[in-house]
Amino acid sequence: MLQEESDLSLIIAQIVQKLKGSNLYAQLERQAWGSWEKRILKSLNSMCTELSIPLARKRPVGEQKELLNKWNEMGTDEPDLSLFRPVYAPKDFLEVLINLRNPNYENGDSLSFRTHLGLIQVPLKVKDIPELKEFFVELGLTTGQLGIDDSTQVPPELFENEHVRIGQKVLTEQDSAAAQQYIRQGSPTALRAELWALILNISSHPEDILYYEQLKTNVIQHDLLVDSLIYKDVKLTASNDDYYFVFEDYLYQVLLCFSRDTSVLSHFAYNSASPPKSYIRGKLGLEEYAVFYPPNGVIPFHGFSMYVAPLCFLYHEPSKLYQIFREMYVRFFFRLHSISSHPSGIVSLCLLFETLLQTYLPQLFYHLREIGAQPLRISFKWMVRAFSGYLATDQLLLLWDRILGYNSLEILAVLAAAVFAFRAVNLMEVTSLAAAEAVLADLSTLKVMPLLQIFLFATVT
């Protein structure tokens, strides 16, 4: 492990060295991602130039000491962030997705797709309700669920007690596969932290803690422009959130380390996107002058910190919190903001959402379209954030239980459609996009499991 640690330091130091006094340039077009990548880098570059801040620099010793002292309360006394702006927000990303076209498909190819009236124009295969019912069979009406059958009106002997007992057994036996199956019915609050760790295969060995400490050292020694973007994001989102403001300082501790974690780059092997690569001025295309920026290849966007925030309700030991988040990111969250054809990728989720709505709630869909309120424009931000910051935390955790249990993000699209179904009556009466947004502005009182159950299993289709 020592070798890896010093490699990491070396890599970061090299990056800093290479970036000294330079800007970032994207290699030319590579499918749809190319121009988006260019835009992002352009945004970063201009911020760099306008604010005269380097992309990366080594901190002077005095500054390092100060930061080390402040490590547990970085939320106070923050730098002046007024001139920073998020590199992009979900709605910018949505515009990119809307303009995606797959050159391999002619307009005339898929008849059913020709009648698709949503915003997404890429004909990916998505499940219909019968297939979803099969996929999510454990959410059916005859199976006990946490989030429904643990409510105060239901005697615990009927389901809850036994479910807790089974959960404890799964944990004692450290059976990861069993845990994943078990959690489809939801996790008891007291067991959730351990169950998630078991499913994600996270155990805190000394080397994991050391690795986190190494990342922390990197944060102390080097300052990245991206750090300011992270600060800004936390201040704009989590710090103002009723549930997560308490954990503000943990968010910095996780995200600053995350941006320096080059091991995250390995997820790009199965992410059909690739990290923004940049080249030192004048050396475009020469690999030895290529640099991933930031080191983990992930540029934070507006709302990114909300992926971490809910985890603070479960883990308060920084290295464990870090590991859990990193694993959640490389397994799930990255799919929500990169372009791919994967069934859990954001493009598929958008298409699934729109198709569900158009097929099973056609009147609502047409009405909203008529008044210029394409449903995806409202639900997109929910899905990109995996509903974090929109649902009450206990409900969000029940939802994320099922993401882990089914190893799929499709449930996000189903929930989004279920929310529209739930508020359909009010939505039929609105006459503008703004009014539709207002009807759907507050999801904090929603109970996700009943909504999902009714939408999938109790609606006449």
Partner: protein
């Protein structure tokens, strides 16, 4: 056919007035015939004072008990609890059981407290036993964190010793009376910050005791990270959770106001500490509230024209033990955030539904037993009449920490039998 309820208030807060107006009640002045008067604590003193002495008629109710200060003044609260404990001990009640070091097992929920200047010498004796301890000085009659400071050296409170030594006739004006309590320097921290709990408790009668707990209490967080370091003892932003103080801090946020719902706290504790210890904590909190009310019940003027909604302040330490800090007779009705406004509006709404049944002209002779449906966000915390109906043998089984029934950790209507077994 009853007429409309006539109301008066000397507290100009929208959460109150909107509630009166939405019931179609009629505003009058205090000189006219009124049915409902939401008073400030100064006014209640006048209404029930021996000199001015109003006679309240059967169709008039007010929102304070005449001598609420037995519970809501810091020194009297402690006096009454100490007296209550001694009485139970004399009776040989199992509730007054002590452990090997002489600490009450079930009734040790108020930090060690002395009155100054009266108990100065007793305090010095205690202070010298643990000279590195920190103590908190609080003026007896003030609120909102005013006049509070921390000390860790006797020299810092010399003023109170001088008084007791030099004057043979002590003029104890309420302004100068202080209580000094052992400071809880190991509070439970979340996100590295200290917080306290504000819980609302409605008492409709003291004898028999009938009280309700508002389900939607909240935690108030400090904006600054907690440190027990002696160099920060005078930084009120670290130590005092009162919103009146925190809102002047640099990092105060007007969106969430540094507040968490009690449900958030519960979720966090269950997730990180486990269900049993969390359930035990909440049971203990309910327990100490009920015990504090029982302690003052014998000395309270149980005037039938009165009800009262108290603001209980509780601190949880890092061993998950709750401590009663104080009880407020006039909990703030100011709203610091949008959520706050909604909460307080609903609090008043539910309080009025219980105190003024059906929104009709009150008759203070009614039995003060509202039907379940009107409780709103309140739940029965303790109903002495019902408890007495359940038989005496329940007492032994009902102490906190022991199993209180299948869902003892949750306050809910079906769990009523659980709570009312306390005697």
């Amino acid at each position: 056919m009853a007429g409309k309820v006539k109301w008066v208030t000397d507290i100009e807060k929208s959460v109150l007035i909107n509630n009166f107006e939405k019931r179609g009640w009629v505003q009058v002045t205090e000189n006219e015939d009124w049915n409902f008067y939401w008073m400030s604590v100064q006014t209640i003193r006048n209404v029930f004072s021996v000199e001015t002495g109003y006679r309240l008629s059967d169709d008039q109710i007010v929102n304070h008990f005449p001598n609420h200060y037995e519970l809501t003044r810091k020194d009297l609260m402690v006096k009454n609890i100490k007296r209550y404990r001694k009485e139970l001990e004399k009776e040989g009640s199992p509730l007054a059981e002590k452990d090997e070091s002489g600490k009450y097992l079930y009734l040790d929920f108020v930090p060690v407290t002395y009155m100054l200047p009266a108990d100065y010498n007793l305090f010095v004796e205690e202070f010298r036993k643990s000279p590195s301890s920190t103590w908190i000085m609080k003026p007896c009659g003030k609120a909102q964190g005013k006049g509070i400071f921390l000390i860790n050296k006797l020299s810092q409170i010399k003023k109170w010793s001088r008084d007791s030594k030099t004057s043979s006739f002590m003029t104890q004006s309420t302004k100068e009376a202080y209580v000094i309590s052992l400071y809880i320097n190991n509070p439970l921290l979340i996100g590295g910050r200290k917080f306290d709990l504000r819980l609302y408790v409605l008492v409709s009668t003291y004898r028999p005791l009938r009280c309700y707990m508002y389900k939607l209490g909240f935690c108030r967080f400090c904006t600054v990270k907690y440190t027990p370091s002696t160099s920060e003892l005078d930084n009120m932003f670290v130590h005092l959770t009162n919103v009146a103080i925190q809102k002047h801090g640099e990092d105060y946020n007007h969106i969430h106001g540094g507040k968490w719902t009690v449900n958030n706290l519960r979720l966090y504790l269950e997730s990180t500490r486990g269900k049993e210890v969390t359930g035990k904590l909440f049971d203990e909190i309910h327990w100490i509230i009920v015990q504090s009310l029982k302690a003052v019940a014998p000395v309270m003027n149980n005037d039938k024209h009165c009800f009262e909604c108290y603001g209980y302040d509780i601190i949880i330490d890092d061993k998950l033990k709750p401590w009663l800090i104080e009880v407020n007779a006039s909990p703030s009705l100011t709203s610091s955030t949008a959520n706050d406004r909604i909460l307080k509006y609903n609090l008043i709404n539910d309080t009025l539904n219980i105190a003024v049944p059906n929104g009709e002209i009150p008759d203070c002779k009614w039995n003060k037993s509202p039907p379940r449906e009107v409780l709103g966000n309140y739940e029965i915390l303790y109903d002495e009449e019902l408890a007495q109906g359940d038989g005496a043998d329940r007492e032994l089984r009902s102490r906190p920490g022991q199993s209180l029934g299948p869902k003892g950790s949750r306050l809910r209507d079906a769990g009523r039998t659980v709570l009312t077994t306390w005697k």
